[in-house]
Amino acid sequence: MKAKVYVNLKPGVLDPQGKAIQHSVELLGFTGIVDVRQGKYFEIALDGSLNENEARDSIARMASEVLSNPIIEDYRVEIEA
């Protein structure tokens, strides 16, 4: 079983790295881009001792307490069997 956690800056929190990336890719000729937001992605391998719901709760707690800073970031958890 595997957990995937996506962490992104909350809407409204300035993302200067995303802005720099957007600027660079536009310089390279990529068009049609409105905004780039950079986030973090975690893959967490699980040993299967928790069922899917338990794993989701556990990883969500980890995401809110450690992997993200709730003041500036949101997170999303996916569990893969």
């Binding site: 300035l14 200067p16 720099a20 450690v66 800073n69 003041i71 500036i72």
Partner: protein, 231 residues
């Protein structure tokens, strides 16, 4: 009075803080390794600058799980003095001892230069030897010093006079041009409600000798010592 300087793996301003306390404040000071948990012999602790845990995950995010931080929380709750400088400020925010967060500088650069900050509140244990509204010249050295918080927090900080330092120009005017990193409301340093925990991005411990370009930081440590001496 006795000071403790907390040392995490990756702290790199611990010796500067130690030097200032022993040489300029003239008081006993120990290094406290992050695995130690006994702070009972100290009257004030300093969480120094650096790159604790290599800034992995987020600046200050992993240091807050070090064993010593549970003791630092209790230490702060007991009303004793905690000063967090640069990475120390980031750690105090991550640990929830101060509100808000410090994110990547507005222009993405690691900024290493002297800046001016204005003393917004001289009625704290860290600033009582300073004059309200006076301007200090202090160095900054950070990539994540851009202070962010929500509207309600900013309102609370203002109402409770907990914004202690703001970036300004040489004349003491708080302007966007004088804001090096994009910090909300030019905030360079804040304290907790009890006024015994202060976090700031500039490095007063690197500005205590004229030879280093400024000795304006000395008054912050003199304030600390005066507060403890009067206690």
């Amino acid at each position: 009075m006795k000071f403790g300087v907390i040392v995490f793996p990756g702290s790199n301003c611990d010796h500067d803080a130690y030097h200032v306390i022993s040489k300029h404040v003239g008081q006993p000071v120990d290094f406290v390794w992050h695995r130690d948990t006994d702070l009972s012999s100290y009257d004030a602790v300093i969480i120094p600058g650096g790159f604790s845990y290599g800034d992995y995950l987020r600046a200050g995010a992993l240091a807050r799980f070090s064993p010593v931080m549970t003791s630092v929380k209790r230490f702060a709750e007991s009303g004793r003095l905690v000063l967090g400088i640069c990475n120390g400020f980031q750690i105090l925010c991550e640990a929830g001892l101060l509100p808000g967060a410090l994110i990547r500088n507005r222009d993405l650069h690691f900024i290493c230069e002297h800046v001016f900050v204005r003393v917004e509140n001289s009625n704290t244990p860290f600033t009582n030897e300073l004059e309200q509204g006076s301007v200090l010249r202090l160095p900054i050295a950070h990539a994540e010093g851009n202070y962010v918080c929500d509207e309600d927090t900013l309102k609370m900080l203002k109402e409770e006079k907990r914004i202690i330092f703001r970036y300004c120009n040489e004349a003491g005017e708080v302007t966007d041009d004088a804001n090096p990193n994009g910090s909300r409301d030019n905030i360079a340093g804040i304290c907790n409600r009890g006024r015994n925990v202060l976090g700031l991005m500039p490095h007063p411990e690197r500005a205590c000798e004229d030879l280093l370009g400024s000795s304006d930081g000395r008054d912050i440590f003199r304030s600390l010592a005066a507060t403890l001496a009067a206690a």
